[in-house]
């Protein structure tokens, strides 16, 4: 089933990596609070934000994602005490590098979302989707084979 029909308004595909303990729970809370956010935000559950490998982020762009967001516990609240601190350094450097290579900087984002911040999760996703919509489809970091081809 095609995700984006021809002619339909551009709906950015957003991959959200969420840590199991805070942000995924925050996303759940957004759900149980019936807070709406765009349908093309898809969450991938990881144990901790420090599990997010830059490879995964590039992979998402390769396969056609228009934006990638990583959510973790607030600094100091990591279930594993320090995972998000490492993740924070890694992402700061990676995002800076992507920016340096001319990938639109708005396409990557980190947000700390606690299990209690369902509203923050939904708001973040809404805002992020808006930002990405304004940027349009990700062309600078896509793999034509994955995006355009029949096979």
């Amino acid at each position: 089933m095609p995700i984006n029909e021809e002619g339909a308004a551009f709906k950015p595909l957003i991959v959200a990596f969420c840590c199991n303990w805070c942000s995924y729970a925050g996303a759940d809370l957004a759900g149980s609070s019936r807070l709406n956010y765009p349908v093309n935000v898809k969450v991938i559950r990881v144990p901790c934000s420090c599990r997010v490998n830059p490879l995964f982020i590039l992979r998402a762009f390769q396969r056609g994602a228009d934006g990638v967001i990583m959510c973790g516990c607030h600094p100091g609240d990591c279930h594993y005490t320090s995972g998000n601190y490492f993740a924070r350094r890694r992402m700061a450097l990676l995002f800076s590098m992507l920016d340096y290579l001319g990938i639109e900087r708005g396409r990557t984002r980190v947000e700390w979302v606690s299990a209690a911040e369902g509203a923050k999760f939904a708001n973040t996703m809404n805002q992020f989707a808006e930002t990405i919509s304004a940027l349009g489809e990700c062309r600078r970091l896509e793999d034509i084979r994955c995006v355009e081809s029949e096979i």
Partner: protein, 661 residues
């Protein structure tokens, strides 16, 4: 290749109203590996679960995807269901189509599309799953408590009362810690010794408790349930088994110039000594630095006078190896050094003392037999100034940024005791804030002010100077907004407290993480306050942060209950979603070790066989019993040797691919 069953839950109308569950089930059939799919009203109900079990049996499924509510809700349920049907519980994946789909979207067509994609991602991940088996390890039913202060004693007693063996390792010659030095305790003013010494006796007499005083932890290995610890028993010079504790040696010892540590150096002790009368064990120690026999070889008086023949100059340090299931850190605190606080003249004026020294001066067993006398001339002081927050809540380099928590209350206690014993003594207290958030604390403080007439001055002391045998205290009164100068006979400084310096090396040894102030960090600041992030290591007392005696005892009990909980298990079942090293890929570079918050990674020389090439080299090894599965190591590993079971690189990338397809 997997044979996957997909089970789509309606969750009544919770899901079915926004997601066409039949369409999701149908669509998933075209995904690789899927051989069966169905939908059901409530997958988590017995009916739903039995449908899963039947399908597993009927279709020989190797894995199942349940499209339902959040995995945080029912992942455990469906894992159990799978296990009952003979499937490995880790061959279950959940597609969260309720919280992250049906509940947030209103358009059924869109919701259905998204649910299909989420199901697809779960299938894609499951195609890369392998059965995981949780490791098991034995639990050694003995606990080690490091530190024999009130925290350590209380933890040990609680654990021992539950029927488990406990060893206490204490670096000084006696247990009792700082509390033994105190005179009275706030807010009830009962005598510290009266409530502590019975506990010390209980601990020494308890059949489940072994005391290792004058001993230190040398090294540790192992992991939760299975620690091996080497304890260094320092040579006492006295055979504990023979000594009767008669005290003749102490009396006859010709060397009496050593400063008494217990009395904060306010008086002297002999070279062979016990720290205080109620010390446990009641066995003296020879201080080799001040012993004439050890320094010059001539003397031997104690040996001559000892009828029990307990003196043993040749005694050497002894290393004892013991095994433990759990370890409690109760290393306590010490007041900070006031060396660099020149403004208070602590080093220069003998009558400027710390609060702990004041405790000893007040104490009936102390250097002044309980009479409050100035150290310089042994005269009773007429005016005493207490200074709060010396080094606490500091903004300067040499101080501590935190509040030491206990000073407000003990200063109120000291002021009150002084006024009670010596009503004609004027007592001033300089404070920044008075913090009394404890049961009966504020009442206590108000009594000091209102009933005992202690002068509380809000402000800091800028300078203390000695002039003609008196101490000129210059301070500011922020409320009156003026400078005050008080001529005092004695100044008592409420020095900030800091973790005992031995904590740092222990922290490294146990990979127990510490904050910037060297207090041990807890596994979770709110929810797991007595556990260290390293499994099997628990925290008791001030080593975790400043606290008073009631809090210390409460935390000691809490730590004990955690220890008991651990020791009561015969086996520990690990989390199988832990890191694993692919040895042929490992470079032995150590970067993973550096980011592991649990110290679960060590390095060993292994024979690695890679495509027929054999080489012995340094590779990283994950201790599955310690690893908690955060995955920090997997990203720091450049070669991809380190991977996280249950969340492997390939699994997550498969999800990414499926979502973006």
């Amino acid at each position: 290749m997997q044979k996957i069953g997909v089970f789509v839950c309606w969750c009544g109308s919770n899901i079915a109203a926004t997601v066409d569950v039949e369409a999701v089930a149908q669509a998933s059939l075209s995904e690789p590996g899927v051989v069966f799919s169905t939908n059901y009203q409530y997958m988590c109900s017995e009916g739903g679960q039995s449908a899963i079990r039947n399908a597993i049996a009927e279709h020989g499924l190797t894995g199942i995807v349940v499209c339902a509510c959040s995995p945080r809700m029912h992942e455990a349920t469906f894992r159990k269901t799978a296990a009952v049907a003979g499937l490995n519980p880790y061959m279950v994946e959940i597609a969260n189509i309720r919280e992250q789909c049906s509940w947030i979207h209103r358009d059924k067509e869109e919701g259905t599309k998204k649910a299909i994609i989420l199901a697809r991602a779960a299938v894609a991940k499951l195609n890369r799953n392998v059965p995981l088996i949780a490791g098991e390890s034995q639990v050694i039913k003995r606990a080690l408590v490091i530190g024999g202060g009130i925290a350590g004693i209380q933890t040990a007693l609680d654990v021992a009362d539950a029927g488990y063996e406990v060893d206490i390792v204490e670096k000084t010659p006696t247990i009792g810690g700082k509390m033994a030095m105190l005179d009275k305790t706030f807010p009830t003013l009962d005598c510290a010794a009266c409530i502590l010494t019975p506990k010390m006796v209980d601990a020494s007499a308890h059949e489940k408790i072994s005391l290792f005083t004058y001993s230190e932890v040398e090294s540790v290995s192992g992991f939760v349930g299975n620690f091996t610890v080497n304890i260094r028993k320092k040579a006492r010079g006295v055979n504990s088994d023979l000594c009767t504790g008669c005290g003749v040696c102490i009396e006859k010892c010709p060397s009496k110039k050593a400063k008494s540590e217990f009395n904060q150096g306010l008086c002297n002790r002999s070279a062979i000594y016990i720290p205080f009368a109620q010390a446990i064990p009641n066995v003296p120690v020879i201080d080799r630095e001040s012993c004439i026999k050890f320094q010059t070889g001539k003397c031997g008086v104690c040996e001559k006078v000892c009828t029990a023949k307990a003196i043993d100059y040749a005694q050497e340090d002894e290393i004892i190896t013991r095994q433990y299931g759990a370890i409690v850190l109760a290393t306590g605190f010490k007041p900070i050094s006031l060396e660099s606080y020149d403004e208070f003249q602590y080093n220069q004026c003998p009558d400027v003392i710390t609060s702990l020294e004041f405790e000893r001066i007040c104490n009936a067993a102390g250097p002044t037999k309980g009479k409050v006398l100035r150290p310089s001339d042994h005269e009773p002081p007429k005016t005493v100034v207490f200074v709060q927050c010396v080094g606490s809540r500091a903004t300067v380099e040499c101080g501590k940024t935190y509040c030491s928590k206990i000073c407000c209350m003990y200063t109120a206690k000291h002021a009150m005791l002084l006024r009670e014993k010596y009503p004609d003594t004027e007592v001033y207290v300089f404070y920044i804030d008075v913090r009394t958030p404890g049961k009966s604390f504020d009442e206590f403080y108000r009594r000091a002010v209102e009933e005992y007439g202690v002068h509380y001055i809000k402000g800091m002391v800028g300078k203390v100077a000695e002039e003609d045998g008196r101490l000129i205290v210059q301070g500011s009164d922020l409320i009156a907004d003026k400078q005050v100068i008080i001529e005092a006979d004695m100044v008592v400084l409420a020095a900030a407290i800091e973790p005992d310096p031995t904590a740092r090396s222990l922290g490294t040894m146990f990979t127990a993480s510490m904050d910037t102030n060297d207090f041990f960090t807890e596994a979770h600041p709110k929810l797991r306050p007595v556990e260290s992030p390293t499994a099997g290591i628990y925290l008791s007392g001030l080593c975790q942060g400043p606290k008073d005696i009631p809090d210390t005892v409460a935390q000691a009990g809490a730590a004990a209950s955690k220890v008991i909980g651990l020791l009561s298990k015969d086996k520990l079942v690990g989390n199988p979603c832990v890191a694993a090293c692919n040895e042929p890929l490992c470079n032995g570079c150590s970067t993973c070790e550096l980011v592991c918050p649990y110290g679960a990674i060590t390095y060993e020389e292994h024979l690695v066989v890679d495509h027929g090439v054999r080489e012995t080299r340094r590779v990283s090894c994950v201790n599955e019993a310690i690893c908690q599965g955060c995955g920090a190591c997997t990203v720091t590993c450049p070669s991809g040797a380190m991977d996280l079971k249950g969340f492997t690189n390939l699994q997550i990338m498969a999800e990414v691919d499926a979502i973006c397809r």
